[in-house]
């Protein structure tokens, strides 16, 4: 069975003794089999769908094609190299297709949002509000200034609260290592999975039900969601700071707080920035908690402490639920701006983390 495969491999070019040994054993013969299986299964599927059976639909075609490919490939490799090799090859094919396939929806989504939004986005979006725009105005008349201001203020206040708290929590977990270290770590993990709507309900129960809607309430809800992300990402980079630096600083006589503030944190600076950016990216698109805290508005409200305030995701959500086509088109404009901001944040975060540790 498998021996034939091994013999076949040995009969080829003699292995270079200096080359590192890898489990890679894919030869031109195998590529031919792979291509034939792909082509053959495509042909079979096409024949079945267009000529023989009353089948149709792109999804059915793709599913059937994948199924036919796996069967043909398995049989072909089994005949040549045996069962064990066949199973190995088929699993490799499945794993590869699944891994590459999962990125297809992402590409489709980005393309769709871009195509939908780009038709109506105008520069005036960044300087006007929705105050004078009715549901029947053309979709090119879309103002997002109020929502951008709202999002900036809400996320800014959320950062002011959760970044110091998150970084100090990470310091507690990794530098101070007090008695609560274990429960705090477990609950930070659990809290990172708290549904965003629960955070909104919490702030509603604490603040909004007595003091009314405000951007500040939204910021508090976002801070609750941001805290675990910032904490965990910061803790990871603090762990990567070499102990030698801490010991050197302590040995020179500086107290613990000075060591942490002047040695550990500066060393981990770009990692901490990544953590903050990840936290911002986590909350900037959050819609659910804003429904019950910021409430939304079509006019500019620069005061985050009183009155309903708009936000980019919230405005997108409210427009997308409208029954007017122009409003739905407007929602895509907002969505495009939102995804643009998220992409910029994401790429910047990657840059910062790559600069320091090469991963994360």
């Amino acid at each position: 069975m498998a021996m034939t495969a091994v013999r076949g491999r040995l009969a080829g070019a003699p292995p270079d003794p200096k080359a590192p040994i890898t489990p890679k054993n894919f030869h031109s013969k195998d590529i031919v089999v792979l291509v034939l299986a792909i082509g053959g299964s495509f042909g079979l599927t096409w024949l079945l769908f267009s000529q023989l059976l009353p089948l149709q639909g792109l999804q059915g075609f793709l599913i059937f094609w994948a199924f036919a490919f796996i069967c043909m490939y398995y049989v072909a490799v089994r005949d040549m190299d045996g069962k064990m090799v066949a199973r190995d090859r088929v699993m490799a094919a499945i794993v590869t297709v699944a891994a590459i396939g999962i990125t297809i929806p992402l590409i489709l989504l980005l393309a769709y949002v871009t195509l939908q939004g780009i038709r109506f986005v105008r520069l005036a979006f960044f300087t006007t509000t929705m105050a004078d725009v009715g549901p029947l105005s053309p979709a090119t008349e879309t103002g997002g200034l109020h929502a951008i201001v709202g999002t900036l203020e809400q996320v800014g206040i959320a950062m002011l609260i959760s970044v110091p708290l998150g970084v100090m929590t990470a310091i507690y977990l990794n530098e101070v290592r007090g008695r609560l270290q274990k429960p705090v770590r477990v609950f930070v993990d659990a809290m990172s999975g708290t549904p965003s709507i629960v955070a909104g309900l919490f702030i509603f129960a604490v603040l909004v039900s007595s003091h009314g809607f405000s951007g500040f309430a939204a910021a508090l809800a976002l801070a609750v969601l941001m805290l675990p992300t910032v904490t965990r990402a910061t803790e990871v980079v603090l762990r990567l700071v070499p102990d030698g630096l801490r010991e050197a600083s302590l040995a020179l006589g500086s107290p613990e707080w000075r060591t942490t503030m002047r040695v550990v944190l500066p060393t981990a600076r770009s990692g901490v920035i990544t953590a903050i950016l990840l936290g911002v990216a986590r909350v900037i698109g959050e819609t659910a908690p804003l429904i019950m805290t910021a409430f939304g508005s079509t006019t500019l409200n620069t005061n985050p402490f009183s009155g309903p305030q708009a936000a980019l995701p919230l405005a997108t959500f409210q427009l997308a639920r409208s029954s007017q086509q122009a409003d739905i088109d407007r929602a895509w404009v907002f969505a495009l701006v939102l995804i643009g901001i998220v992409l910029v944040l994401f790429v910047t975060a990657r840059r910062f983390s790559a600069r320091q540790f090469g991963r994360r």
């Binding site: 498998a2 489990p23 639909g57 999804q59 059915g60 090799v85 199973r87 490799a92 794993v95 699944a98 891994a99 396939g101 999962i102 929806p105 992402l106 489709l108 989504l109 769709y112 100090m168 929590t169 310091i171 507690y172 530098e175 101070v176 007090g178 609560l180 429960p183 477990v186 609950f187 993990d189 659990a190 809290m191 990172s192 999975g193 708290t194 549904p195 709507i197 629960v198 309900l201 919490f202 604490v206 805290l227 107290p255 613990e256 990216a281 986590r282 698109g285 819609t287 659910a288 429904i291 995701p313 959500f317 997308a320 969505a335 939102l338 995804i339 998220v342 944040l345 994401f346 990657r350």
Partner: protein, 333 residues
């Protein structure tokens, strides 16, 4: 442990000396600040539970145990204390999450395997970034894309499932002219896209910690790459797979906006998952928050409280499983 040397007395191996630290006042202040920041998470979670309970209490007191067994949702003033409950909401929440996990778990394991075992070096970085980017896209955009692009394309698949696999209870048509679309199945697919990156990142981290010696051992004994994965990588990563899946489940249960866009709300329990109509605690709260007041509002907060406890339990379980497994210690989730 005692060692005897030729020219000396018996030496006992030294115990490490206890280091007594006398901290300066500034250090004590520093530790105090860090400790209070650290405990803020615990306090915050406690406060969330407390305040939701306080606000939900009127509805819970009014409905009593029937809150967990009633399927309909007609709170006062239109209904009375026995006409609202989370049974159907919770059922559909779990159904959507389970559909999402059925799709997401195999895909995540495959993606993690591909990144750690199969992918050429140049592909690993970009692929990891792309999968992480899936997690960064706001839920709202998944919902809009799902509703305007994906939903109409899934109707055909649902029809096909209903026609061909109708003998399975969860695909079995409930009447002669079933309407497909806006279903739990469609919502589950969209949620699965949002869960995959979360599960993948945990599983990938675990797989990357498989001791190379064990993998090389399996290969040296003549196993194929897949044989090595089955014999070494998957058993080693089992804790991470289970924990990561539970973590993903927690996310899927709490997903709000994307589900709201994908489904039409119904308030009864039905086995069929591909016909129109589903529900979800989070999506329902987001949908009806604006028009609720009084007991109706309190009832919504009670539903939120249920969701909070369910997700907290699932997430705590996930953290425990991952931390206890052989491979999981030191893995970030």
């Amino acid at each position: 442990m005692a060692t005897r040397t030729d020219d000396g007395p018996v030496h006992t191996a030294p115990n490490p000396r206890q280091i007594a630290t006398l901290r300066t006042r500034s250090d004590r202040v520093f530790r105090g600040i860090a400790t209070s920041a650290g405990s803020s998470t615990l306090i915050l979670l406690f406060l969330i539970g407390l305040f939701l309970t306080i606000k939900a209490w009127p509805a819970l007191k009014c409905a009593g145990a029937s809150f967990f067994t009633t399927s309909e949702w007609v709170p006062p003033p239109r209904g009375d204390c026995s006409t609202f409950g989370v049974a159907a909401l919770l059922y559909w929440t779990v159904v959507i999450a389970v559909i999402a996990m059925v799709i997401a778990i195999p895909v995540s394991i495959a993606a993690a395997l591909f990144i750690t075992e199969y992918a050429p070096r140049w592909l690993k970085g970009p692929l990891t970034s792309l999968i992480d980017l899936l997690a960064a896209v706001p839920s709202l955009l998944y919902g809009m894309w799902g509703a305007y692009y994906l939903a109409s394309r899934l109707v055909g698949t649902s029809e096909w499932l209903g026609d061909r696999l109708g003998f399975l209870p969860f695909f079995k048509p409930t009447n002669n002219q079933p309407t497909y679309g806006s279903s739990a199945f469609a919502a589950g697919i969209v949620v699965s896209l949002m869960v995959v990156p979360i599960v993948t990142s945990v599983v990938r981290e675990v797989f990357s910690q498989v001791p190379p010696g064990e993998k090389e051992g399996a290969l040296a004994l003549g196993s194929t790459r897949w044989g090595m994965i089955r014999a070494v990588v998957l058993p080693f990563g089992r804790g991470g797979i289970i924990g990561g899946s539970m973590l993903g489940l927690g996310r899927a249960l709490g997903e709000t906006i994307a589900i709201l866009f994908m489904i039409s709300l119904i308030f009864y329990i039905r086995v069929n998952v591909i016909e129109a109509g589903a529900n979800s605690i989070a999506a329902f709260i987001a949908n009806s928050f604006g028009e609720a007041g009084g007991t109706a509002l309190s009832a919504l907060l009670a539903a939120g409280l249920v969701l909070f406890f369910v997700t907290l339990l699932v997430n705590l379980g996930a953290a425990a499983v991952i931390n206890r497994s052989r491979s999981g210690s030191g893995v970030e989730i």
